[in-house]
């Protein structure tokens, strides 16, 4: 009875339990089994039937519950108030669905109870939160993985392309190729070591800089390169361009489009400095100062001129009329240390004793009739420089003596003065005579000859170097045409053949007049043999050419007079017409006693 009084009204407790949706099992010690208390909720009946007697048939009831109930006595021994939850477990119901249950064991006084509840909406909420969280973690894991994969792939590709780039770069550097890449703004994005070496700069001075600041081209070349860069096709600079700087360089440019970035340009630079220097040297060999010719004989002359220019001695230039003796004298002067001082030329032919003396040494006012004022001579005027005395073989004996004194003492005395003046002038003399013969004949002082002939340059006649004729003729053609505006471009090969087979007694001067004549006659842009003066086309190679035009004295005198009258008394013009130098012309006038006024 007492036990009964502890229990609530059975119908009330049934209602309460039904309202709580809880199953209550009580352990029946004597029977050794659990007994369901009150009316169980509907879900319980669906899963386990109206009663549960697990101790009798454990395989029939829930394995989880069985496991839980097996260990439950341990909980009850824990004393009153001890509650242990089973944790949620899932059971399938008879409709093929599932339900999640949780059990708790507790003891009330002597009574040992197990409460089982079905987890409801709170549990479902928790489940869906965990589900979402895990799904998200899996998704993030997948994303991270695909990122990682992409990253690995990209790193792999980057490494591969870096390797390719390094290989290409190494190859480029190994090849010693001077190349640079310009970006879309014309700034240098990359330059090989060879380029930097060629330009003599460090990488940081080049990279990111505008090309025209790094490549110090001359203004017009810069414009040309700009133009080439603006073009879209692959081009070359044509000839070498000069990079100005401490030591200037000649480079040839090759411009390519960067196929990956059409606005970027790849420049390949080839150093042509050495080649340029060699070409220059070659050109120099074909012409020297104003002398033209690359025959062995002329090359020897150029070398001789260079050698002679190095020393300060008197030089004698020997050569037939028209061979360009004055040009040699000028070349010696311009190659010598005196190049910045005056170069004066005097023609000693056809001048009287006193005129020549006054011309060379100057005079005092009143020294002779017509000497109205003091006048310095060429020696004084050429102070520090070079005095070229042409036709030295023609100077009268008194002048020879005075000249010898200058050469020995470095002093001159003006005509009409007593006091000598010191001069520093280099004398370069020229003659078409054989002065040794003149000495033998007694017309030239031996001591003066030895003074003059310390150094000698012998100019070959043109007929001895016919291979120079095409070069000479072409160079003359260009010079003659330039001021006239005529566009005669070349000489026909037949014309060159005629020119080369002619004996040229008047040498280069005669060739020049022939070309001048031909330019006037020429109708097209090419000189034909018919354009040449008749004496050249008609002439055959002279078997034994001489310095003089081989005519009898009478014929020669007539020729001189005709030339003079044709030139209206202008001696320079008359000499030109005859293809002889003014000096020779004057000498001839004196010889034939012609007084031209």
């Amino acid at each position: 009875m007492t036990d009964q009084s502890h229990l609530p009204d059975p119908s009330l407790s049934d209602h309460v339990l039904a309202a709580l949706d809880i199953v209550v099992l009580e352990w029946e010690e004597e029977a050794g089994e659990f007994r369901l208390q009150g009316a169980p909720p509907e879900w319980w009946g669906q899963r386990f039937g109206p009663a549960i007697r697990c101790s009798q048939d454990p395989s029939q009831c829930s394995p989880f519950l069985q496991d839980y109930l097996t260990g439950i006595h341990r909980v009850w021994q824990g004393g009153p108030g001890t509650i242990e939850k089973s944790g949620p477990w899932t059971e399938s119901d008879q409709q093929g669905g599932t339900m999640t249950l949780e059990a708790r064991a507790l003891s009330l006084g002597l009574r040992k109870l197990v409460l089982i509840e079905r987890l409801g909406s709170d549990f479902e909420n928790m489940r869906s939160i965990v589900q979402r969280a895990r799904e998200r973690m899996l998704a993030e894991d997948l994303t991270a993985k695909s990122h990682h994969k992409a990253e690995t792939r990209l790193i792999g590709r980057l490494e591969a392309s870096e390797r390719t780039k390094d290989d290409a770069l190494a190859l480029l550097q190994q090849l010693g190729l001077a190349a640079m890449v310009l970006d879309e703004h014309g700034q240098i994005a990359f330059a090989t070591d060879r380029t930097l070496e060629m330009l003599g700069i460090a990488a940081q001075e080049a990279i990111g800089q505008p090309w025209d600041q790094v490549l110090s081209f001359r203004k017009e070349d810069r414009r040309l390169v700009q133009h080439l860069l603006e073009g879209s096709s692959q081009t070359r600079s044509g000839g070498p361009l000069c990079l100005e700087g401490a030591c200037s360089r000649w480079i040839e440019l090759e411009i390519h489009r960067d196929l990956r970035h059409p606005v970027r340009r790849i420049l390949i630079l080839s150093d042509r400095t050495e080649l340029h220097a060699l070409r220059q040297a070659l050109n120099e060999q074909a012409s020297f100062h104003d002398l033209v010719g690359k025959s062995a004989a002329m090359l020897r002359v150029y070398q001789l001129v260079r050698d002679v220019a190095q020393v300060d001695t008197t030089v004698l230039i020997e050569g037939e009329t028209g061979t360009g003796k004055e040009l040699i004298a000028r070349a010696i002067h311009s190659s010598s240390g005196r190049r910045n001082k005056p170069f004066l030329a005097a023609n000693c032919a056809g001048l009287t004793d006193s005129i020549l003396t006054s011309q060379l040494f100057g005079h005092k006012r009143g020294a002779f009739t017509g000497a109205i004022q003091d006048q310095q001579g060429l020696f004084e005027a050429a102070e520090g420089g070079t005095l070229f005395l042409d036709e030295i073989g023609d100077i009268p004996p008194q002048v020879q003596t005075a000249l010898l004194r200058v050469l020995q003492e470095k002093e001159i005395t003006r005509l009409g003065e007593a006091k000598p003046r010191t001069v520093n002038v280099r004398v370069v003399a020229a003659t078409h005579h054989n002065l040794s013969e003149d000495v033998l004949r007694g017309s030239f002082r031996a001591d003066l000859l030895y003074r003059i002939r310390i150094a000698r340059v012998q100019l070959p006649p043109l007929r001895d170097r016919p291979e120079d004729i095409p070069l000479l003729a072409q160079s003359m053609l260009e010079k003659i045409c330039a001021p006239t505006g005529k566009t005669v471009e070349r000489l026909h090969p037949d014309t060159l053949r005629v020119l080369m087979s002619y004996s040229w007694p008047g040498n280069v001067r005669e060739l020049k007049s022939a070309v001048e004549f031909a330019v006037i006659s020429c109708k097209g842009n090419e000189i034909c043999p018919a354009d040449l003066p008749p004496e050249i086309t008609g002439a055959t190679m002279a078997s034994s050419p001489s310095v003089f035009i081989p005519l009898s004295n009478q014929d020669e005198k007539t020729r001189l007079l005709t030339a003079l009258s044709d030139a209206n008394g202008n001696r320079t013009e008359a000499a030109k017409r005859l293809g002889i130098s003014r000096a020779t012309f004057y000498r001839r006038l004196v010889e034939f006693d012609i007084h031209a006024h």
């Binding site: 944790g87 949620p88 489940r127």
Partner: protein
């Protein structure tokens, strides 16, 4: 008939539920529904002519939200450590769980399975690591709940271990 409690342990989504379902009912679903708490499935296997009922405790996955309850482990005869081959981190989880079991219920027989072998190209666990596990005394299986590969062998092997009189080989905590 002899009954043996076997716990399925492993990180979340490694395929514990899928392996049990493939073994018990021979079905597989691509759809992932995480297990909360426990579901117990039964299947009888025969080892050396002796039937044994495996009570398969499919536990929830171990992660920061849920840690394995020691009460679930109690009374186990053995366990299966499930690892997802495509997620290296699940191997670390399996290692921790193995230590937990040893700490809680002692050195029970177990087998490890690296699941999802149908995705072998995406595996993050390579051969040297597997060799290392084997050297530590882990019986390591490969399998796929999706394709049903290695599943029966896995459970059969464990059942044999459970019935074998010899204690489990080497168990490293």
């Amino acid at each position: 008939m002899m009954q043996k409690k076997v716990c399925m342990l492993g990180g979340f989504a490694v395929g514990k539920t899928s392996l049990v379902r493939r073994f018990v009912t021979n079905v597989f679903s691509e759809h992932y529904q995480t297990t909360i708490g426990v579901t117990v499935e039964k299947k009888t296997v025969t080892v050396d002519h002796q039937d044994v009922m495996l009570m398969l405790w499919d536990l929830y996955g171990e992660d920061e939200f849920q840690h394995v309850r020691e009460s679930y482990l109690r009374g186990s005869s053995g366990y299966i450590l499930v690892i997802d081959g495509t997620r290296k981190a699940t191997l670390d989880t399996a290692r921790l769980l193995q230590q937990t079991v040893v700490r809680t219920v002692g050195p029970l027989p177990f087998v490890a399975i690296i699941n999802k072998s149908d995705l072998r190209s995406e595996w993050e666990i390579d051969q040297p690591v597997i060799e290392q596990l084997r050297e530590q005394g882990w019986p390591v299986f490969f399998g796929s709940a999706k394709l049903g590969q290695g599943v029966d062998e896995l459970f059969a092997h464990l059942a044999a271990m459970l019935l074998s009189p010899a204690p489990p080989s080497r168990i490293c905590p």
